[in-house]
């Protein structure tokens, strides 16, 4: 078992790590060898979407996932508080000596196309009437936190934007790890990605968390 980062954040401002976060950590641990073999010979560009507290990015920094001294990390969140929290968490876990930058961004719209080798996303996956509007001011704290969970129809509105563009988001060798809950109907989504869009897709981990069933799938070519 790889150690979990130490986290101390203000959870009024950023998403508090929960079963979904931990399932992604376990998935990345399981995938460590696959990723290392795939990326050991060149620089790899890692991008976490929606880092929140920074727990997942910090875990990857700490344990050299995908490969030690060969990766640079970008953490992109829409919530400005998450970017500060992610830097603070990395620092709290003595990771200032690794390459990390955070960017306030709507998904990957600010990053060059086809440059991301490893994409990780624990999205807002809870079904809701709508995806909340982006708040106008940094101090609208409650509204920023709402963006962490509410994922519109089937909880898939935000995730679908990523899946639909995966082809121009990932580098040719790229791999994406994305978390789903059962109400997202992941089997159907995955089937569509395979059959209509030619992706390889595999279940990495799944787990019952309270009344939710969470799963992490990986997508690659």
């Amino acid at each position: 078992m790889l150690a979990t980062p130490y986290i101390k954040c203000d959870y009024d401002k950023v998403y508090e790590p929960a079963e979904d976060s931990f399932l992604l950590l376990d998935s990345l641990e399981k995938e460590q060898q696959f990723l290392n073999e795939r990326f050991h010979s060149h620089l790899s560009v890692v991008c976490e979407l929606g880092p929140g507290s920074g727990i997942i990015t910090t875990f990857m920094l700490q344990h050299g996932i995908p490969s030690k001294n060969k990766s640079i990390y970008f953490a992109l969140d829409i919530n400005p508080w998450a970017l500060e929290a992610t830097h603070a968490t990395a620092k709290l876990n003595a990771c200032q000596d690794k390459f990390l930058d955070t960017v306030q961004s709507d998904l990957t719209s600010s990053l060059r196309n086809k440059e991301i080798d490893v994409l990780v996303f624990n999205p807002p996956y809870v079904p809701a009437d709508n995806v909340p509007m982006v708040p106008s001011f940094k101090d609208d704290i409650d509204e920023w936190v709402d963006l962490a969970l509410l994922g519109g129809a089937d909880g898939m509105v935000v995730t679908n934007k990523v899946l639909k563009n995966l082809d121009i988001i990932l580098s040719p060798n790229g791999v994406a790890y994305i978390l789903f809950c059962a109400r997202n109907k992941p089997e159907e989504v995955v089937k569509g990605m395979k059959e209509k869009h030619g992706w390889k897709a595999e279940l990495v981990e799944h787990r019952k968390a309270g009344w939710e069933v969470l799963s992490v799938y990986k997508f690659y070519r």
Binding site: H42, L43, V45, N69, K70, I72, F74, I78, P80, L83, E84, Q96, D97, K98, F99, D101, T102, V103, Q104, S105, D106, S109, S110, L111, R112, N113, E115, M133, V134
Partner: protein, 135 residues
């Protein structure tokens, strides 16, 4: 935000994706505040991997925006592995480490050369989020 990050940031406006001017962004040298951050140690192998990957023209463009015109016009070539590096190679790599990894923009602004949209960097964090009418 570290200098190297400028090699990955483009304009967020979707329509600019079809232009060649959405990357690199144009940094306003008179408004960008640079700081040196030494927390990442020099590691020649890491630098070699980074240099293999970077878009050198974009490095030149941003360096010149920020007032550095001393870089070689084409990407320096190095031996394949770190143990074959000469003293001279090491000097160049150290300089690139200082520029790409240790130099950060703590405050500043940059704009898209296609649509002109201006983005800001505050507390070393760039904000590439678009206002609702452009998103």
């Amino acid at each position: 935000m570290k200098f190297l990050t400028t090699n990955f940031l483009k304009c967020s406006v979707k329509a600019c994706d079809t232009s060649n001017d959405n990357f690199p962004l144009q940094y306003d040298g008179s408004k960008c505040q640079l700081v040196q951050d030494e927390s990442i140690e020099f590691n020649p192998e890491f630098l070699l991997n980074i240099i293999e990957r970077v878009d050198w023209n974009a490095v030149l463009s941003v360096a010149s925006d920020l007032g550095n015109t001393a870089l070689p016009p084409s990407k320096p070539v190095f031996p394949a592995t770190a143990d074959q590096l000469s003293e001279e190679d090491m000097t160049i790599l150290r300089d690139l480490h200082t520029l790409l990894i240790q130099t950060s923009i703590s405050e500043g602004e940059m704009k898209c050369r296609n649509c002109g949209h201006v983005y800001y960097i505050k507390n070393s964090i760039p904000n590439l989020l678009l206002p609702p009418h452009l998103a």
